[in-house]
Symmetry: C2
Subunit: 276 residues, 2 copies
């Protein structure tokens, strides 16, 4: 079992995920309507205050921005990478991020633990590479993340529009719920400080994010939507620490207690037994 | 007087202005509402099929795209440059374009012949540099240009929205008229093949553009709005050549015959005497 101090230490690493100055998007393309296109396009169009570097084996430019064949070809320092390559090559992309010295990664791609079999091995490969290079990563199989801080303006997600800035941090294991909440919030001017799709929670879970959000001055309320809780004791401890030390309310919903709920949840948890 | 064959030869050089694969924007910035911002922002947002390189002395990125201190710092080959630096440093920017081997330039900035005095000298400096490096340039003091060809999608102009593709080429010495025509055309679905703001016509005039448009398969009709005609014989010859050889209609309006018209026109022609 992970110790509280380890979660707290990891929360400090997680912080770097929210305020990068430079981001490489590995696997970006120019095909409108695809996830790799949307991710780069959204990052580019929602006012990110840092610099974006698309990486694509076959394209000279993505959305009119110079593209690189490999992330290691980029001459400048990189704070973060977003991987949208298919899971069959995701581990190679992460390995190159490690070689390039990137410490924060968002892995959008699906095809890992949630599909079982070879996908479970692939997720373990990601974890092994992350450990080797001291990388912290969100996902895989997630919708990405958003930081509305006007000094950052980071929309590394499928969301076409940046939500308004606000005091709510929203963490969700369901990408569909992320989309629904964003669609609901936009016309109602409900703002968010951070918006995070947790996906498979292979490396970063809600626990270290809670410790990170505890110290995030932009966040006053934390909402959690979880489909699977792996370390209940740590989660309770983290939530208690947030509430007692800062007074920030933490509201959590755990789904998947009914058969249908468990079936839906299994697409992220990979826990096939619960469906049967 | 320039010979017809010289205009025809120049028309071939002008062609490169309409289909660049890579463009540097010299003087771009991140200050919304300024011309340098709008120009880069529009190029980036309207689907240009090539690669964009902002150049700015003080910024690391423009609109999230890596920016370079000088155009000569860009490691890749460049087909074209758009200069939005103030006229006080425009000649230095053009000089560096020459050193970098760029042959096609759009000079948006005002502050040249149209302001008289020092501006006339500055425009001559541009012409001297262009001759030295065999550069062809549009402007200065212009709104830019647009090519709606879906293989190019070039909007190097103030126009926020790309007009629809169509068969009309529109050349105008008045930037205000460009804006008015675009605003009129958009909701009415009137399309354009090429859209060119001529500005001061220091180096490229309507004459070589007519020869270029004669051979442009996307253009079926040519509209001209002129405030000043410098070589009437060449213009008539070019128009006749277009009409007789291709059957493309050429419609031209020459303004500035009344006192008010002449006054308005003088902001491009610099012909102050006609106002008095």
């Amino acid at each position: 079992m992970t110790e509280t101090k380890d979660y707290v230490a990891k929360a400090r690493k997680v912080a770097s995920l929210f305020s990068p100055k430079s981001i490489a998007v590995l696997g970006a393309n120019n095909v409108q309507g695809t996830v790799p296109y949307d991710i780069f396009h959204n990052l580019l169009r929602t006012g990110f205050k840092g610099t974006l570097y698309p990486v694509s084996p076959g394209e000279k430019q993505i959305c009119s921005v110079k593209s690189y064949k490999y992330v290691i070809d980029i001459e400048d320092e990189l704070d973060m990478a977003v991987i949208v390559f298919p899971s069959s090559v995701g581990h190679m992309a992460l390995e190159q991020c490690g070689q390039k010295g990137i410490k924060s990664v968002v892995i959008i791609s699906a095809g890992y633990r949630e599909v079982g079999g070879r996908g479970i091995e692939r997720e373990q490969q990601l974890l092994d590479i992350a450990e080797k290079y001291d990388i912290t990563f969100l996902g895989p199989n997630c919708l990405g993340m958003i930081n509305t801080d006007e000094q950052v303006m980071l929309n590394a997600s499928f969301a076409r529009e940046m939500p308004e800035a606000g005091e709510i941090a929203f963490l969700s294991q369901s990408g569909a719920l992320c989309t629904a909440v964003l669609d609901y919030a936009l016309p109602r001017h409900i703002g968010f400080s951070k918006f995070v799709s947790l996906g498979n929670k292979a490396e970063i879970s809600e626990v270290e994010l809670l410790y990170y959000l505890k110290d995030d001055p932009a966040t006053k309320v934390i909402l959690l939507y979880l489909e699977e809780i792996r370390d209940g004791r740590a989660l309770m401890q983290a939530a208690r620490s947030v509430i007692e030390e800062t007074g920030k309310p933490v509201l959590a919903i755990k789904s998947g207690r009914t058969a249908q709920g468990a079936s839906a949840a299994s697409s992220h948890t990979g826990d096939r037994k619960s469906v049967v």
